[in-house]
């Protein structure tokens, strides 16, 4: 019996298309997560209906979905939906701030890692600054750049992104295995070649783990900065305005849009990470 099932199994392995099998494995891998998501939505819907919860406390998922579809329809048919316009504006603030803050963080880390004295002088301040709630500066940057200028939100996002990226990059550039450095010394490698061939590849996992966190932070930063005021077509302003006019299902569409942007941005960074570091431990299994 056991032999027969083995033969059947190996025959299946040979004939089944590897692509199809991979898809099936993927599906089985994500199945528990999908089930959790579906059951949370079902329970949410039921609880709201059964206990007759007021919609300003918690709208039904179906109501939120209806509002979302209505906005989508507006966007598709008339080419104008405040929700989608707001999403675009917030995305722009988040991505712009992410690029500026992340780029500056990596650049300054490269410079300071080259001159250790500077990095030793700067690191305590960077670590301290990293634990400051930078979002509290949003009213200040609103004053600096103007309430409706996207630069005021980008500035906040850039500062939020800058510190974790810079700190992690410095760590990745300096926390190199001593043996690997000695290997480079044995080749009489110049500091620049050590940077390029050893320190930067060594730092990549550190940089990307910071960028992944920063991608989520940048959307949070942009939306919260918009809570302090900004153009009408931004997610933060949209959510506060429709919530104050008791249109809670629509407010939730704003929240969901912000979540989608955050998740999408995170997945994009993850995708780039996988393309750039196919060797990395975390991708070896199930990748």
């Amino acid at each position: 019996m056991a032999e027969i099932s083995q033969i059947v199994e190996s025959a299946y392995e040979e004939t089944a298309q590897p692509r199809l099998r991979r898809l099936r494995e993927r599906f089985l891998y994500y199945l528990p997560a999908i089930l959790v998501a579906v059951s949370v939505l079902v329970v949410w819907e039921l609880v709201v209906r059964v206990f007759n919860i007021q919609q300003f406390l918690l709208p039904r998922p179906s109501a939120i979905l209806d509002a979302f579809l209505a906005e989508t329809q507006l966007f598709v048919t008339r080419g104008g939906s405040i929700l989608f316009e707001a999403a675009g504006a917030t995305l722009w603030s988040a991505v712009g701030g992410f690029a500026i803050g992340g780029g500056a963080g990596i650049l300054i880390a490269l410079v300071t890692a080259r001159w250790t004295i500077i990095s030793q002088a700067l690191m305590p301040f960077a670590i301290a600054a990293n634990s400051v709630p930078i979002i509290a500066f949003a009213p200040i940057t609103n004053n600096w750049f103007g309430l409706t200028n996207p630069a005021s939100k980008m500035a906040i996002v850039a500062i939020i992104v800058f510190f974790p990226v810079m700190i992690n990059t410095v760590r990745g550039l300096t926390l190199v295995e001593p043996r690997q450095l000695e290997l480079m010394q044995s080749y009489a490698a110049s500091p620049f070649k050590i940077l390029r061939a050893l320190r930067i590849p060594n730092a990549l996992p550190y940089i990307f783990s910071a960028l992944r966190v920063a991608s989520a932070l940048s959307v949070i930063g942009a939306v919260v900065a918009e809570f302090f005021g900004g153009p009408r077509a931004t997610l933060g302003v949209f959510i506060t305005q429709v919530a104050s006019s008791f249109d809670f299902a629509r407010a939730w569409t704003g929240i969901i849009m912000a979540s989608l942007i955050g998740i999408g941005f995170y997945l994009l960074v993850l995708f780039v990470e996988r393309r750039l570091m196919p060797w990395h431990v975390s991708f070896r299994d199930g990748g």
């Binding site: 043996r179 690997q180 000695e182 290997l183 010394q185 044995s186 080749y187 009489a188 590849p201």
Partner: protein, 264 residues
Amino acid sequence: MAQATTTAPVIAAQSINKIFKPGSAEQVVALQDINLTVQAGEFVSLIGPSGCGKSTLLRLIADLIPPTSGDLKVNNKTPHQARLDRDYGMVFQAATLYDWRTVSKNVQLPLEIMGYPAAQRKARAQEMLELVELGKFANHYPWQLSGGMQQRVAIARALAFEPSLLLMDEPFGALDEFTRERMNMELLRIWQRTGITVIFVTHSIPEAVFLSSRVVVMSPRPGRITRVIDIDLPYPRVFETRELPRFFELVTDVREHLRDAHGG
């Protein structure tokens, strides 16, 4: 000039002392009055218990640390100049491969640093991988290889730029006995084919005897050379060499000197 460098010994160490943290309470005399000469083409093992300074001596030769006093010449130059001239290749106890590079790219690393053109790098890496019998694994990543295979890649990398001297710091210490014996055979084959000079640090007596033309016995605290034993086993050394009566005599000889050095 060329004549002078061919006749000069590869290693000439005179009255070398190495003291870590001199003058402090934790001062350690790692090496005391080391005198050692190694001629071109020799295979010399440094053997001794932990703390006898055998790795320290290797690192002095490699110019990874400076001696406290004494005169050390590598290829008739200061160790620093020898390092700048890329006179030696080094193999550590851990393979120390770069995870982000394929096997071939790892072997190419020193060639890249030294500015070889890309085509030559690739060809040379393949040649070296064939030498350590890993030609089929050029495009694998290090984590896809076993410990023994990784160490062979490290050897290929150390030989890639054709240094005249190979420094090996317990390269097979982390391998199982069976793999280690196979690696020993392979290393001897490479040594005989290339004519390279090898300084080999180990704490395995049979390994030292099997591989070497000379075994340097060291003792700890302070690290000193207590005895240099010529290994007169016939070449080529094969698997059966380990079963020769002379092999056992030499192993016993080294062991007794190690025990004397250890003070009983």
